[in-house]
Point group: C2
Chain length 299, copies 2
């Protein structure tokens, strides 16, 4: 039995949506988990999760949900996480490892230090980078994390064994697990994920406010709807991301705005050579990035 | 035999790439064309087009290509179109109808008036709105235009019969053909197509110039590559679009920039309610637009 084949006796999900639900399904499919206990905000979600076989037991109190858990995964909206960490700090056992799936890690790390001081060494901040346009446990599926990146951002105070355990949990879902400094994570994600979402939201809102809005949306080709798919993501989640990764997103937006300004000036000046170079560079960078990405996935 | 079942005795393609090639394939498949004659910039393209059966005869001189043509389709990069219109003006017969597939119509209409004065009444400006990430005759296929919009922008001087003929040609490819004022076309397309491309090019270039560029492209999830697919479009084509629809694109970019600024201010102020409303509105607008779009396609 290799390290990545470890079996989790009891997994507790705080929040049973797309991410938590898909993690449970994946570990069950791999035979890597004993019991899955779920805690959710609504009884309807818990009932649905039980019906779908995503969880084995439903709880509505954190104390009961976390009892004797090997691993607790916090998979709630991010702004609820500090309260969950505080609740868990009062009730988890000395061997329980806690992790989360929040998209911004500095915010969660700070919350853990403040709200979860007795168990912070066994808290491993994590971020599975997986699509989130469809929310809810109904949308969860076992293969969501195959070939996706999961980034862990332990601090110097994080217990090594806890990091290893969380790493092996995610490896069993087929994900590629990496560790990264928490500030580097938030800066990189601001550029590769948070910025593109802002760009798409701003574009759709520009068209929505346009005087010919209805015609525009009708005329838009399929490519436009592919392009703006990410503007259909969960507004609560994106509000939370903007509130918790504020500085890094503002920095990325500033850089992007200057990229828009460069393009604006070249169009205004009618500078065909500059425009061609700009489009050529973008095409080459994207195609090269995609190429190296595909090589990584094919490993 | 209905009007849309007309057979074109001889179709001449000036430019045999994705669009011209797909049009020929589609009309051949529908049994709606006699002979297809192709003229291209390189002999390699003509050879390939003959091999693929996209064209029946290859020519390298406009005079020979356009001889006895029922319909001539100009499907070259846009900045070549004025010269092609001038060449055609010297050699087409009095019954030949000319059309084009350029993405910007004001530019082409003006060129036709100047360069093609003797035949401008039989010139029908056209724009099939169909995906163009892959270029070249090798990428052409018969179903490219099924359920896509084709917009014709005749002027008050355009012959009605010519408009009807070009309409029926496109209808046989499965496209939804509409006519529109040339200035309205250029304004709407600036918002729904040209702007999204600028937004995507600027985003990719921002990441390409970033000091951690390589890591960023590796870390970017599949969603990022879907989102930026349009930044892999043909740089020459997009240079031409920017050079020929300058004013409308600048107007759209200004509006978009103000949409970005609104978002920037809300993030800076940490205004969660404004952010939530902004994301919610974008999601609703896009989903509603997609819904009405799907209803149109399902007709």
């Amino acid at each position: 039995m290799t390290e990545s084949d470890v079996v989790i006796e009891r997994l507790t999900l705080i929040g049973v949506g797309l991410i938590g639900g898909s993690l449970a399904r994946s570990l069950k499919q791999a035979g890597a988990v004993g019991e899955v206990v779920g805690l959710a905000r609504t009884e309807a979600t818990l009932r649905k999760a039980l019906e779908l076989g995503v969880i084995d037991r439903a709880e509505t109190e954190v104390e009961r949900a976390a009892q004797s858990a090997s691993v607790v995964v916090i998979a709630t909206p991010m702004q609820v996480m500090p309260q969950m960490l505080a609740d868990l700090d009062r009730c988890v056992g000395p061997d329980t490892v806690i992790t989360d799936v929040g998209s911004v890690k500095g915010y969660v790390v700070e919350a853990a230090q403040k709200q979860c001081p007795h168990n912070v060494a066994r808290f491993v901040p994590g971020h599975p980078i997986a699509g989130k346009e469809h929310a809810g446990v109904e949308a969860s599926y076992a293969d969501l994390f195959v070939d996706k990146s999961v980034i862990l951002t332990p601090t110097k105070h994080t217990d090594n064994h806890a990091v290893q355990l969380v790493t092996s949990v995610w490896q069993q879902t087929g994900a590629d697990v990496q560790t990264m400094d928490v500030r580097v994570h938030d800066r990189l994600l601001a550029a590769t994920s948070h910025l593109p979402h802002m760009v798409a939201y701003a574009l759709v809102n520009f068209l929505a406010k346009h005087s010919e809005s209805e015609t525009l949306f009708k005329l838009a080709a399929g490519g436009f709807y592919d392009f703006t798919r990410i503007a259909s993501s969960d507004p609560v989640m994106w509000r939370d991301i903007c509130m918790t990764n504020r500085e890094e997103i503002l920095q990325a937006l500033k850089g992007y705005r200057s990229s828009i300004d460069t393009l604006f000036s070249a169009i205004e000046a009618g500078d065909g050579d500059a425009l061609h170079e700009c489009f050529q560079r973008a095409k080459l960078s994207r195609d090269k990035g995609l190429d190296s990405k595909n090589k990584v996935s094919a490993k």
